[in-house]
Amino acid sequence: MKEVINLPVKNIEEEEYHINMGPQHPSTHGVLRLVVSLQGEIVKNLKPHCGYIHRGIEKMCEKDTYPQIIHLTDRMDYLSAHINNHAVCLLVEKALEVDVPERVKYIRTIVDELNRIASHQLWWCSFGMDMGGLTCYFYGLRDREHILDIFEESFGSRLLHSYYTPGGLMMDIHPNFQKSVKDFIKYFRRKIKDYDDILTGNIIMQERTKGIGILSKEDAISYGVTGPSGRASGFACDVRKHHPYGVYDKADFQEILGTEGDTFTRYMMRMHEMRESMKIIEQLIDNIPAGDYSAKMKAVIKLPAGEYYQRVEASRGELGVYCISDGNKTPYRMKFRSPNFSNLSALDHMSRGVKIADLVAIGGSLDYVIPDIDR
């Protein structure tokens, strides 16, 4: 006869189990691993495990000259590559006290905003996919393709451009640039209605996101959640407004703040931001002043010894570049305060007590890009 094993009696209702979401999971948008403790379908807590795509960009920067760093920052948050490059360029220009031509500032601002729209389009379509609406994905990519075409025409590549250089730009914009940007704005103003029709107004989506994953303003500040996600909680953190760079001080745009701090507000923030970005581009595109596309720079850029910090508003939040120079042509220490890194740290706090499906929605609304977290 078989021996009867007395297992310890557990209350099944309270029993927790763990599942690994990722590193290969459709909704982690890359190689992020979330160890989720579940009780039934309710998330009790989760632990993010990063580092699957850690390339040591900060260490590599210590070996590279300042123009060479640009091609590394491209690859941090690859969806806002221009904006990352902008941060490094501004830092070098600030350290050397170089005055870049107005034309460069205008072009950089316009390209940054185009990049932001492209990034938010990809966010929108992948958010739709996280929610289970697969058609959204193709509509988002369809419209993003137009921006990538503009980029390809002017800068030669679609995703990782390395277009900015310390002191200016790699090359001047293509003669067609202004026309194609204006065409795109006209096109996208028409197509963004599809986005609202198919996802924003949808009752299923609204019911799934309203009141889910609430992050209070205090928590948002404490966790350093910035960008659209932080602004959804009411945290006025738009670097473009508070520490303007480029020609953002000349453009008229709103910093839209939410109050709820839930998934739906984060969604709406990005939808509004796309429209605000279009507004900025429309104001600037016709006023690009003539001039040189780069300031005169020395062949070998050496930063004076000291510490520099530059903040820019990347499409997912505040990107900070902290550089310590010892006067050489390579930085002594380069630190990137990446927006996704801080945003991810709040995921555990936000997703306690929600269902797995909500966890996916919250993750989608935070819009994390894993290479930016791991660097």
């Binding site: 996919m129 289970g132 058609t135 299923i204 909500d358």
Partner: protein, 362 residues
């Protein structure tokens, strides 16, 4: 009215008499059953393959894409190529999985959908078996599929599969009610549960027109709840790709996965046929009262074409749902059923009973 040109009854009787004249009755029945079985199997495979192709094309057009267009003309043989690929793929052996149940589950699902197809009338006289409780039989058999899903989820020894299976269980138990009750609404109007008589009853107008408002509401509810019952569209929680990777069939590969895949499409075909038969007149042509010439032209379109056309129309609507809406969450799914569909359905039955009682239908 006269459908004799496309009537299969005499043809069937002729085969039956021919066989019985040449052999004992037992053998005749056995041969008939084999023929019917093979015919349904062939039909099943063809429809399954076509539906996979159709879904890809439909979703591609909705998403501004072209869809499959490499294998054969307009990519028509794409699904056959896929099926060959799936047959040749390795069957992954799962450690610590319950092997018996794990291997059994795909068959349960496919047998359940196979059994349901037997009762569906494709044309006059063209059905495997005409139960006098046809609707009840189909509801009962089609809900057997959930057993397969539960077994698949349980035996895979995978938490994603288990969550998917449990979701599916809750979902199908709830939505079974709505499917049944919305059909009951029409049964009240038709006064029978036999499919052949339901179709005959729609000779002078489909039930969705005859029963006007309550029948229309029942049709909508049937569409929603049958979409849910086939684990499709916005109700695909059991295999929620972005949450559970592939839900209950995460661990399946090769031909076993193909079984799940095929069964999903066949279930869709079955519920669409039921919707077409019960609400849209099945193989009955479209007739307008008083327009004799028009009705005569309609009669010349074969009933099988009518039936397939209506079924694919319903399938197209279900695909339209799937490729438009985001997925529901499990609590929303249950809220929709218990707070909205079920009460509306019950009231709707009362209204229908009242309408029939007062003779307010057409």
């Amino acid at each position: 009215m006269n459908f004799s040109i496309y009537d299969f009854t005499s043809f069937n009787q002729w085969i039956d008499q021919f066989l019985r004249a040449h052999m004992p009755g037992f053998w005749a029945v056995a041969i008939e059953m084999t023929i019917i079985g093979l015919a349904i199997l062939l039909f099943y495979a063809l429809v399954g393959l076509f539906l996979v192709y159709a879904e890809r094309k439909v979703c591609a057009f909705m998403q501004n894409r072209v869809g499959p267009n490499r294998v054969g003309p307009y990519g028509f043989f794409q699904t056959i190529a896929d099926f060959v690929k799936l047959m040749l793929k390795e069957l992954i052996h799962i450690k610590n999985a319950d092997q018996l149940l794990f291997n059994l589950a795909p068959f349960i699902i496919i047998i359940a959908s196979f059994m349901a197809i037997a009762a569906i009338p494709f044309a006059k006289g063209l059905h495997a078996i005409d139960f006098d409780i046809g609707i009840l039989y189909v509801i009962a058999v089609s809900s057997l599929g959930v057993v397969g899903i539960l077994l698949a989820g349980w035996s895979s020894n995978n938490k994603y599969s288990l969550i998917g299976a449990m979701r599916s269980g809750a979902q199908i138990i709830s939505y079974e009610l709505s499917v049944g009750l919305s059909l009951v609404t029409i049964v009240i109007l038709a006064g029978t549960m036999q499919f052949s008589q339901i179709v005959e009853g729609q000779a002078n107008g489909w039930f969705i027109f005859k029963g006007h408002i309550p029948a229309f509401i029942a049709f909508i509810i049937f569409l929603i709840s049958s979409t849910a019952e086939t684990n499709r569209g916005p109700f695909d929680l059991a295999e929620a790709e972005s949450e559970l990777t592939a839900g209950f069939h995460t661990e399946y590969s090769g031909i076993k996965f193909a079984f799940f895949f095929l069964a999903e499409y066949m279930n869709m075909f079955i519920v669409a046929s039921i919707a077409a038969t019960v609400f849209l007149g099945g193989w009955m042509p479209f007739h307008m009262g008083g327009w004799a010439g028009f009705n005569h032209i309609m009669d010349f379109i074969p009933p099988f074409v009518w039936y397939i056309g209506k079924t694919f129309f319903v399938i197209w609507i279900m695909m339209w749902f799937k490729w438009t809406f985001p997925r529901l969450r499990i609590d929303q799914l249950l809220t929709l059923e218990w707070k909205y569909l079920l009460p509306i359905n019950l009231v709707n039955i009362l209204i229908m009973a009242f309408v029939v009682l007062m003779g307010w239908h057409f």
